[in-house]
Symmetry: C2
Subunit: 410 residues, 2 copies
Amino acid sequence: MKVLQYIRKNVKKMLNVISTDDFENLIKSIKEIDGEYVNILDSHGRILDEDIYSKVNIPGFKRSAVDGYAVIAKDTSFCNDENPISLDLKEVINIGVKPKEKICSMECSYIPTGGMLPIGADSIVMIEDTETISKEVFINKLVKKDENVVKENEDITIGDKVLSKGDLILSHQIAVLISLGFKTLKVKKVIKVGVLATGDELIDIDEDIEIPKVKESNGHFLTFASREDNCESKHYGIIDDNKENIKQAIEKALDENDLVFLSGGSSAGDKDFTKIVVGELGDIMFHGLSVKPGKPTLMAKCKNDKYIVVLPGHPLSCMIIYRFIALKLINKIYGKNHKVISQELELGEGYYKKTGREEYLPVKIENNLVYPIRSKSSAMSVMVRCDGIIKVDRDVEGYKKGDKVNVIRR
Amino acid sequence: MKVLQYIRKNVKKMLNVISTDDFENLIKSIKEIDGEYVNILDSHGRILDEDIYSKVNIPGFKRSAVDGYAVIAKDTSFCNDENPISLDLKEVINIGVKPKEKICSMECSYIPTGGMLPIGADSIVMIEDTETISKEVFINKLVKKDENVVKENEDITIGDKVLSKGDLILSHQIAVLISLGFKTLKVKKVIKVGVLATGDELIDIDEDIEIPKVKESNGHFLTFASREDNCESKHYGIIDDNKENIKQAIEKALDENDLVFLSGGSSAGDKDFTKIVVGELGDIMFHGLSVKPGKPTLMAKCKNDKYIVVLPGHPLSCMIIYRFIALKLINKIYGKNHKVISQELELGEGYYKKTGREEYLPVKIENNLVYPIRSKSSAMSVMVRCDGIIKVDRDVEGYKKGDKVNVIRR
């Protein structure tokens, strides 16, 4: 019974709750992870560690936007379908090859899409607007100077800032970087995340459900979610809920990773030795967030700029805290330019809450109206059913039907 | 010169353009790829090939939402801070273990968050609202029936449809599937994509830029983009722009993959043998789309439900056609429930176009206003600069400043 008395006395003291604003301030000074050079084809899903300024113009030379004939626009001034002019064909330009012939008045060269404009020519007549008889090309339509010509810096000019440090490299970025001539690239080292789950009630995927045991799902969620967010993550399994085991497991995970996410053991109840252990392994930055769901979150800084985040055991709380706390930590360490896609929409029904706590509320969108999904923090199906999340600030008492809210979509 | 005359005569005949509506109709009957069973931990990034109905209730038993004391609510009816009632402590329930003792009137058991409610109890008093002296527990606050109790089907009820055939499995879905007791799962086989690039102007990443050669970027884009969209993709490199080489390369890629994406060689110009080759390897479904950019797109159906898509060589066209044509084909073969995130916003400036062609227009969003990015289809930096894309229907002549448009964000 001594344990119970201890808990009763300490339950409020143990949770010194901070706000998410405090959290954002706390992580401001966190050091970014180092960079490394990788082959450009290995940079997919990595975070840029340098600003990218172009050393070249793109496309780099005047080229044709169409298949047709490179001409001097002035020569075509008076021509139309009825009055074609005839030009001498100088050469057939091949794509990827420098034109050999200069174009003088009343001359032209065939040029394919992407072909290099020959010296002297200033525009291209589309092939559809021409007739060819032997070496004579009849032009049926006038063109203006620069018509169908792609300028040498039409897309990118030398010195342009094309990408920024902190940008995530995906397929579009790789295409641009290849075109700019990059072969290697400085990207952030991959953040390694070790995931552990504690709780005597937890059973593994392979075991059959036997009430009141429950399947360990939070650890798997955290492993895959952090992989989706560009980390290399490993699940260390279910750790027996006793101090020595937890300590050893966290130490091993800390040793092998940059971040350790622990699910469960974050509340101030019985058998939650986690805070004591985490306190022995690092400096506790906070224990308790004034958010719903997710209050009993714990975070500690350990040596070598490593961090432990203990996430709530309730599945929905765990998912929300991952998204709005743990992911912010990941993105801070990456120095990532994280783009949140959100959308202002009207509420289809009212929502009321107590002031003093921020809330992250999963919502459905139907006919462009937002409906809160009312659920307990233990609910886990909410995140697969919701279309987005709204953040309800701590001082807000709620919303009326028709109020505009900002739905975080991604 | 014979080649030129041939091209001139056939250029319009060769492109029998269809609309994107026609395209959607064309792919309606395409057969979905088969399914296979995989270990649930290997299902991340895969497409579900079965509807998921729950065979269990979640959480599966009445459990506590807090650390506290399981009681009979009626016993606490008159208690408050000044008038606590005293209950006999029957046991300390451990999480994951069935309670041994039944609760009768004036009795209670300690219960941790997630612990199973003992028989007889109907509510839980939070530990903060109690005092404990030896085996006596003083309750300082009344609770109502079911207070702090999570119902056995609070989250998911037996028979609920939890996920649907065609859903993409990500971290949230895996967590739910694990909780439901799944060990293996029927998912779609991974679509294999072979990517080829043709064009005599193309040089590889390792070669230095030498005007008017350009770096091959479309093929790399298509490889990584289709990987982002859950395919297993391989780049077969740059193929010399001659008929025999192209044919051999496409044949090999067709043999080893479900889809072949070829960049370049889709326009009707000189040296574009692609259509002839593709026609020899399969039945051409269409050549030409009435969209801007991306008109010279070509698609063919080959034996064994394999498809070839020839995408335009212009980088922006290639990226747009990937997104709005090739990706739709991928999603159709997966039977994927693809969620597009879009947002209705006002245009910050007008945009005018010719009718008769649908346009996909990259846009920037600034201060919640939408600004079209004006660029040629050869531009490749647009897709890293834009915040989204608007689809301008074929009959629309354009928009005025202030008109509402639907921005496709993802």
